[in-house]
């Protein structure tokens, strides 16, 4: 049996719009090990959320389309892309759970939260109403909601933002899923509440052994929670590796750019922020070469002509950039990148 809970291979997702076909995800490949927390980082429109929605098969078709050459192997045996809607329904909620960004809109405002947690338990695990309710109370206690016996009969509007996100996590984890996808789980929350939720997620991962895919744009959250990182740009993976690979030995100029454009709280001198000039490309007509070339300070002629292959740096670390080609000119990584350790 495979060690991977998830193997995404050449995932391609398009949306058919009146303006043309938007190639939102353009051949994404990565694996997720059992018990591992993987972060997908990138800017809005890079395809990180679409990737996670494709894994959950939450892409509305039409207008969306998961290309048939893609494969998403779950737990070594099930290809999610090929499942029927009915089969997918059984998998979703029981084997996989999802936490959304906005805890205000992703709960049903007209249903008591106990019922919302129990729903999945009754459907997937065949629990009786009473047993499901008890399990719901247990879940609320697990995610740190005080007085769960009383809270179980309340409605979402009676909870604060942080508490609602805890309820979302309780729903997602109720059936003991093997995979938890968290799409910007703390972006809508204040930092002191974010710290509570990240703490809770780390704790629950240890207790339940679930694998986590964390979608975020916040490199601090990545450093805090993830063991591996996938960096996406314009629908493709530009670099992936362990957190240490990505933070201390990044190889792709886009990864460098991301790190140089955010100020660090622990930096005493006023370092200058180095923005990535320009904006991401239009994915209706993606460039034929490297999608980052137009914004890349190191771009060469070849970058505009052909997409670079994946170069392996070490067993878990790879990047797609022409600079890594043996014949490419040597480029020094900017000194600001690489944290205090490689400085």
């Amino acid at each position: 049996m495979s060690n991977n809970i998830l193997e995404v291979k050449d995932l391609k997702v398009s949306f058919h719009t009146y303006a043309g076909e938007v190639h939102a995800v353009r051949g994404v490949t990565f694996n997720l090990k059992k018990g591992e927390a993987l972060a997908i980082v990138g800017e809005s429109g890079c395809g990180k959320s679409v990737t996670s929605q494709a894994i959950m098969r939450l892409i509305a078709t039409p207008p969306g389309e998961i290309k048939s050459t893609s494969s998403i192997l779950f737990d070594g045996k099930t290809d999610i892309v090929k499942l029927s809607d009915k089969e997918m329904e059984n998998l979703r909620g029981s084997e996989m759970g999802m936490i959304f960004q906005d805890p205000m809109t992703s709960l049903n405002p007209t249903m008591k939260i106990g019922k919302q947690i129990a729903e999945g338990l009754i459907k997937h695990q065949g629990l009786s109403k009473q047993a499901a309710r008890e399990r719901a109370i247990e879940m609320l206690r697990l995610v740190g909601i005080p007085n769960p016996e009383g809270r179980v009969d309340q409605y979402p509007h009676q909870f604060s933002g942080g508490m609602r996100q805890r309820v979302m996590i309780a729903i997602a984890l109720a059936c003991n899923p093997k995979l938890l996808i968290a799409d910007e789980p703390t972006t809508a929350l204040d930092v002191t509440i974010q710290a509570q939720i990240l703490d809770l997620m780390r704790d629950l991962q240890e207790k339940t052994g679930a694998s986590i895919i964390l979608i975020t744009h916040d490199l601090g959250v990545v450093a805090d929670l993830a063991q591996r990182v996938v960096v996406m740009y314009a629908g493709k993976v530009v670099e992936q590796g362990s957190v240490d690979d990505i933070f201390y030995n990044p190889q792709h100029p886009y990864t460098w750019g991301l790190m140089r454009s955010v100020p660090r709280l622990d930096n005493d001198e006023k370092q200058e922020l180095i923005p990535i000039e320009g904006t991401p490309p239009d994915l209706i007509a993606p460039p034929k070469g490297c999608a980052f070339a137009a914004r890349c300070p190191y771009a060469m002629e070849v970058c505009l002509e052909a997409d670079p292959d994946i170069t392996k740096i070490n067993s878990g670390h790879s990047a797609s950039c022409w600079l890594l080609h043996p014949n490419a000119p040597k480029v020094e990584r900017p000194v600001e990148v690489g944290g205090h350790h490689n400085g």
């Binding site: 710290a195 490199l219 601090g220 454009s261 180095i274 923005p275 944290g339």
Partner: protein, 324 residues
């Protein structure tokens, strides 16, 4: 007091209160007795979590709201008492950049007219001169003159924020309030806008009140920082000093809650996790408002409202721990 008035002070906020009447006797104390001052040419950062009153403070300073009590002195004059010509003059000298670049530009106006509106209202220029001024402003913020005839929906978020900045600069203000100017933008674009704001400050000697919840970015751009919690200012200090030596337990918790993009540091860092949520500003706790979540709270915190005191030179804290 945090106010040492002198010729260099451009803005003084004195015991400012802004209450909202919610009806049925409920009063929301959004800003409750806040005092600070801003020097000419500096950037003052105001941070805090949602609902702490930082935006209301900004909006009351620029006279979008009347003050319930207290006063705001801009160049020595109380902004809430201005009338006629003085008021018009004030509106020219103080401008605002808003958080949402999608909602803060009129979708039916061309970019040229959005930027030119202030010039028209204040009768600064007309005809060709006005046109040229608009082109110049567009170039100053990194856009170009062709953009003047386009509409806001044709621009990305970062470009729209540049338009908002050009609009605020059109009437040559001295003081700009930026209320979460970059929180709606992607990280790579945030740096573009922050660098633009810094460059404009150097070139034009602007003073900024920079309101945001992202403490790392506020620390990067600000000379001094004020930390707000539930309508009160709890700490004011120079930016690096605040990070190196936070004194208020809330500032300590806030700083420790921010994840640093460095896995090794994150693995070894001790985090102060605050329990619970921010209480409602309609019925705030007695005494120190932070006491219900404060890991260092003492019995007397419930009875005494701590005042902002200068504990070390230029470092002000409102906490009973520092009362002696």
């Amino acid at each position: 007091m945090a106010n040492i008035p002198n010729a260099d002070t451009i803005l003084e906020v004195k015991n400012l209160k802004k209450y909202f009447d919610l009806g049925r006797g409920a009063i929301l104390k959004a800003v409750d007795n806040v005092s600070f001052s801003i020097k000419r040419g500096e950037t003052f950062g105001l941070v805090g979590e949602s609902g702490c009153g930082k935006s209301t403070t900004g909006r009351t300073i620029i006279n979008l709201y009347n003050a319930t009590e207290g006063e705001v002195l801009f160049n020595g004059k109380n902004v809430h008492k201005l009338q006629g010509r003085d008021l018009k003059q004030f509106n020219r000298k103080m401008q605002m950049i808003f958080q949402d670049p999608y909602a803060s530009l009129n979708p039916r106006m061309t970019v040229g007219d959005i930027i030119g509106e202030g010039i028209d209202i204040h009768n600064l220029m007309s005809g060709r001169q006005r046109q040229e001024r608009i082109y110049e402003l567009l170039e100053t913020v990194g856009l170009n003159s062709e953009h003047a005839s386009r509409f806001p929906h044709e621009f990305s978020g970062g470009q729209r924020q540049r338009i908002g900045i050009a609009r605020s600069l059109a009437i040559e203000p001295e003081f700009i309030i930026a209320d979460e100017p970059i929180s709606a933008l992607d990280v790579s674009i945030q740096a573009q806008v922050v660098n633009l704001m810094k460059r404009l400050q150097d070139e034009r000697g602007l003073t900024y009140l920079f309101i945001a919840h992202d403490l790392a970015m506020v620390k990067h751009i600000s000379d001094r920082i004020g930390v707000m919690y539930l309508g009160a200012l709890v700490e004011v200090a120079e930016a690096n000093e605040l990070y190196r030596k936070p004194m208020h337990p809330y500032t300590e918790a806030l700083l420790s809650a921010i994840p640093i993009p460095d896995p090794e540091i994150e693995r070894t860092r001790e985090r102060i996790i605050l329990e619970g949520d921010v209480p409602s500003p309609v019925n705030p706790p007695s005494g120190c408002r932070f006491r219900t979540r404060c890991p260092k709270a003492m019995p007397e915190c419930a009875n005494v409202t701590p005042e902002l005191k200068e504990v070390e030179p230029n470092h002000f804290v409102a906490c009973l721990l520092y009362n002696n």
